[in-house]
């Protein structure tokens, strides 16, 4: 579970198929080598190592979104967090393909900056951590709904679910969650300690 990073990029369709019977080709016509060639080459997971250039958001908007990603899924003992996992990059990429999506983020970040300027005279990204937390604690909950906060609450709901999606579908998020599958195994087994735990905690 903890050695995911060593597997990252290593658990591929190619490796999975290599472990399997060579008769794979007999009926399906698929050999491991073919599968390897056929594998769709996609861009490797981009991390916030400074190499990503926003395609749709301005530098300021992108930096603000990175801050939000960091608040929503921060780095901690078990994870590098959503910022390093590239959540802002992914949202920018989606925004570059959709005016509707771009509008949500440009408008939302504009609102966030305006609200922070009214409270503390600064844009969101330049405010202190305490000031940022103060505003987020208002817009992260529907119970604070009001004509003033409504747009911010709705924007934060967008940012939250998209950062969550980006993170939990990234290698870091999958590792933190503890998903252990997507591999070829010759036998399906349930570890006895799992079964015992569940039965012990079930009604008699």
């Amino acid at each position: 579970m903890s050695d995911y990073s060593s597997k990252r990029g290593g658990v591929s369709r190619r490796n999975l198929l290599q472990g399997m019977a060579v008769t794979a080709a007999a009926v399906s016509g698929v050999t491991p080598a073919m599968a390897q060639r056929a594998r769709q080459k996609v861009e490797a997971e981009r991390t916030a190592s400074g190499t990503y250039q926003p395609k749709a958001l301005t530098d300021h908007e992108y930096r603000t979104l990175q801050k939000l990603a960091d608040w929503i899924i921060p780095a901690g003992a078990n994870t590098q967090g959503a910022l390093k996992a590239g959540a802002a990059d992914w949202i920018d990429l989606m925004s570059s393909e959709s005016e509707e999506m771009l509008g949500i983020y440009t408008g939302g970040i504009f609102w966030l900056d305006a609200a922070m300027r009214r409270m503390h005279g600064k844009n969101f990204a330049n405010a202190t951590e305490a000031d940022q937390r103060e505003l987020l604690d208002l817009i992260a909950y529907r119970k604070n709904e009001s004509p003033e906060l409504g747009p911010g609450i709705r924007f934060f709901a967008w940012a939250r679910k998209m950062v969550v999606d980006a993170y939990y579908t990234s290698p870091a998020g999958i590792q933190e969650l503890g998903y252990l599958g997507n591999k070829a195994v010759s036998k399906f087994d349930v570890p006895p300690e799992c079964m015992d735990y569940a039965i012990k905690h079930s009604p008699a």
Partner: protein, 572 residues
Amino acid sequence: MFQIQRASPVYDVVVIGSGAGGGTVTQVLTNMGVSVALLEAGPMLNPAKDLKEHMWPYEVSHRGAGPGGAAYFGRDPYPFGYFAASFGDWKLDGEPYTVAPGSKFDWFRSRILGGRTNHYGRFSFRFSDYDFKPYSRDGLGTDWPISYDDIAPYYSKAEAFIGVTGTKENIRSTPDGVFQTPPPPRVHEALVKRACDKLNIPCIPNRMAVITHATNGRPACHYCGQCGRGCMTASNYASSYVQVIPALKTGRLKLFTNAMARELISNDEGRVTAVSYIDKETRQERMIRCRTVVLAASACESARLLLNSKSSRFPNGLANGSGMVGRNLTDSVGYDLGARIPALEGMPKYNSDGMGGMHMFVPWWNWEKMGLDFPRGYHIEIGGGFGMPEWGDFHDVCDHHEGYGAGLMDAIQKDYGVWAGLSGRGEMIPNDRTYCEIDPDVVDRYGIPVLRFHFAWSDYEYKQVNHMHETFRSILETMGGVVDGPKHLEDPTKAISVGGTIIHEVGTTRMGASPSTSVLNKYSQAHDVKNLFVADGGAFVSNPDKNPTLTICALAWRAAEYLAEEMRKGNV
């Protein structure tokens, strides 16, 4: 306009559609030495290139949400997720269908070699002896012209060939078959079984079209849990890679892809002589000559083709002397209920992928109990486990928990893998208000008149849904679960699935003893047109609570053997 050459070959058999029925007919006939031409309305499937098995969500730039995050705006371009091998949708560009006012119906079509078998659930249950005689049993619906004993040998052949897991159980509703060893239950499935044991409800290993030991050159399942994405090693059943692609190697199969059948051409003697189709790539209409035709385009698509094949001899459509083409349409009843299972909270994680579907299920158990307020049964499917995280999996947690940071992450972690879901799949009884017909006002982009659907559930189905809810709740609560739903269903008409969405539509060219009330005879041969057979779910007389694909395969196998024998005798 027709591109027909005088020298064009006459095929012994033209099969229309490459799903479970067409794939089985193609496999059986080519193995018997018969030459077959197979028309598929979609493109070829190249498993190595087209299937997304083993892809991680981060290997696609949009993570499954579609370009521009389309799914966030309710425009999900992938009806069963980006990675599924569905190659189709509820709506297809340029190929509409209509729904009559007052009806709700959704029709799923997959345009690809293998059709819907590439992604289907693969649950493979035999019909019971009593399923073939529903009218004799409760006075509703119509008896089949065949009995369980007629089809049982073909169930065995189909199971042995495609490979089905299971165990001997001697449960009358769901007869035993030729089975491969099933994998053991996952944790949540074991908990469901414990609850069922307390409630005297059977819960048994699943019967799934997955091979657990090497079979006919296909390697055993590797338990990645992704059957819905199609299987690159052909370790589960799809007609594409288990039947049609191997049949190509016999040299007796001529495959026409992107070939959308338009009309069956018949002569004055009432025999089909040719199939007219649109080559989608060139948008040309072409004809292919045939000795016999097997329709396997899916129940509704086959009915459409017959209704669109009108002539002076067949003014109501081909093989429709009974007026039954398009009638008796049914889908399965669907109802789902889930619960958070506290016993799973904090359990160590494990790889719960397994087969791409439940390892345990509940067959119908009340078949002899009188006193229910509805006539027909249902089976229960079980969901749960630690799935590969996908787009949207935690939207509900975000919505309920709100907030951000460590608290939100904790809530997500606590939610992951602690749910169990139960799905009922029940029998619908054919009724007069449920059928498909040609819409006189609408054609598709190839100029072919389209189907108009009428659909209505009845009290038989609504009451069954009530029973499902009460049963599911008692199972989930016996597990200690916190049910995500009401104590009792207030309005089953709102809880029941929309017609067509379980994708078990059958009955539109039903078989029967009498040409005046049925389209096909007991060998799936048209009463009115001797060289025409139907090998899809259209032949069904009823729609028992067992997913239709295995029975489609068995009936198709039987029809193919009969057809070959009749051809040998010179009768067709």
